[in-house]
Chain length 353, copies 2
């Protein structure tokens, strides 16, 4: 019997609605599997918590999270209540950084039941490995002068260690896939950090001689994800470039509501964190129509992380066949509620055992 | 009779092929118009020039260019001959910066004769105003330490003046269009430069109370250009974000081979420069099949800049009806050569007089 302690942070808006459904699915999956137990501990840290306590999480928040095997997060942020830079940097980015979740992994694949905005989406299936700890997302920088003379400086900081470990992760992942890694660069315009990025990529590639590589400037790469997404297998990108490419990935899948992600801790010192790509969508919160698929696919990534890949694959198949059968939420052009989609996934999952 | 002196820099690869065709079209347009004369002076500055002289342009290059009313550029760069950071920073970016071409303008619209990769491209028609002089494209930065400890730092520098003038340009442009400006930001992740960007945007918006505004994070905005491009009118973006968004714009139009751009000098001290978005495409250079539409649309932007909007519109219509009639180069799925497309555009243009 394998036991996993999971910290659950539903967060804001629809986060709360989709997390509870995905937890039900995980519980069902564990039961069906037979040899798995999940212990869920809920942490109510979000913008409401901030309004009450003046902080996004209590002082011992990280210590409490640390005891878990993984963190399962919904969505953080509600700019009508708390400015994003407080809510995100106080919770989401705070956890990513404190727990050394140094890579962020986001798959994008063509899902038959979901209408892609692309005319001919072929069978694209790629995964973006995003450097998640440094780069353009940096607290280094500031301002000088006032009024019309004001200048803001933002420092992007790329370390050899941080860059290299994201690239190693990408190459190792490619070994289990189609053996192709594309590096997102912009060394023709950004002349300090990106030539460095290219050098580390070239150096890393030499250690994986059987993996094919390609280097594409971010502007062209963003365009290629629209015109020929099927050309990519693993893409390795900086924090900012990964952020942009994965939203394009979600867009070509047909909805940001289905896209999952994993923030991975590589040194085993802290838990990894699993969160969908979508935000808290305050505009549709409380209506019972939020799409739970992104959160469920996120649950599948957590299962994979626990070594339960077979169960993870079964869950993804169940979701795919539910979508193909037309049971989907309004954002995907369907009429189903959050709960109806969940019921359908649970029943497909049961049938697959 | 209006006279314009135009500096022509064909540059590398297909640049040479498409520039000569677009010049023919401009000559025809001037003849048909009757009250216009263009004087073209060719400058052979490119990677071959570099291999011979060790520089991308002669020492007095800028002085010579300066005497012209506009610069009409093909494409610069050929990484097999000269590294990009030398060719681009020695010519393209050197001119953009030295001639204070502080905004870069790139339209994207649905062109009926060109197959968009989008299933339902609606009639999108937006224009990106890109800050073109500073921001993420900065020579400020460097490295420290060696080997495994190496760190690269890249400074993005945003001045109030630079940011504000790009935004003013965007708002003034929106006044002549559908009165809507979207700001591309990322203030939830990039915490020094982007909150500054947001502040300047808000301040600028107050001076144009009749223009509607919207602020969208770059990741979501990149996705929206795929899922609902028709929602945008004018988009104002930093140097890097503008670069990425305009390539997505080109992609959804159906080919980077048709997308034009203008680098605008606003203080009247130096000429503006007109260049297509595509690169020099060394792989198809010399085959006579390069798509000349991007360069011709660029010529239309130059006509607009000269105040010859009516002629510019006639040229764009001529191109559109040629594309609709199926006369197009292989990159657009056609069989026509560069010259055949040009002939067809010239004859359509003649018919429109
Ligand atoms: C070639 C490169 C430096 C350039 C840029 O990024 O500005 C190009 O992509 C463009 O958009 O004109
Ligand atoms: C909310 C924001 C800070 C975050 C990011 O850019 O990392 C989000 O866009 C994401 O991709 O997880």
């Amino acid at each position: 019997m394998k036991d996993f302690n999971i910290a659950v942070i539903p967060g804001d808006g629809i986060g709360k609605e989709v997390v509870s459904e995905a937890v039900r699915v995980l519980e069902t999956a564990a039961e069906l599997h037979g040899g798995l137990t999940f212990h869920f501990t809920h942490y109510p840290w979000n913008c409401d918590y901030y309004l009450e306590h003046g902080v996004m999480m209590p002082e011992d928040g990280l210590d409490r999270l640390k005891t878990h095997d993984a963190i399962f997060l919904g969505a953080v942020g509600d700019p009508n209540k708390v400015p994003d830079h407080i809510s995100l940097w106080g919770l989401l980015i705070h956890i990513r950084r404190s727990f050394e979740q140094v890579v962020n992994i986001r798959p994008a694949k063509h899902i038959k039941g979901v209408r892609s905005p692309l005319r001919d989406p072929k069978d694209f299936d790629f995964i973006v490995v995003r450097e998640n700890s440094e780069g353009e997302y940096s607290e280094s920088g500031g301002r000088i002068h006032q009024g019309g003379d004001q200048i803001a400086v933002q420092n992007a900081v790329f370390t050899k260690k941080g860059t290299r470990r994201a690239m190693d992760y990408a190459f190792m992942l490619a070994e289990k896939r189609r053996r192709h890694v594309t590096s997102a660069t912009k060394s023709n315009g950004i002349v300090h950090s990106m030539p460095f990025w290219d050098e580390v990529f070239q150096e890393t590639a030499q250690d994986y001689p059987h993996i094919n590589t390609r280097k594409v400037h971010i502007d062209a790469l963003a365009a290629f994800l629209v015109s020929q997404p099927e050309a990519f297998d693993v893409i390795v990108a900086s924090n900012l470039f990964g952020d942009i490419l994965t939203d394009i990935g979600a867009a070509i899948m047909g909805s940001i509501g289905i896209a999952p992600s994993a923030n991975i801790n590589l040194n085993g010192k802290y838990p990894s964190m699993f969160e969908p790509v979508h935000g808290s969508a305050p505009d549709i919160a409380g209506k019972g129509i939020a799409n739970p698929i992104g959160q469920m696919w996120t649950a599948k990534m957590m299962l994979d992380h626990f070594g339960e890949n077979e169960l993870g694959d079964q869950l993804l198949s169940a979701m795919e066949s539910v979508l193909e059968s037309g049971i989907k939420t309004p954002d995907l052009g369907g009429k189903a509620t959050t709960k109806e989609v969940t019921e359908a996934v649970i029943s497909k999952l049961k049938n697959s055992f």
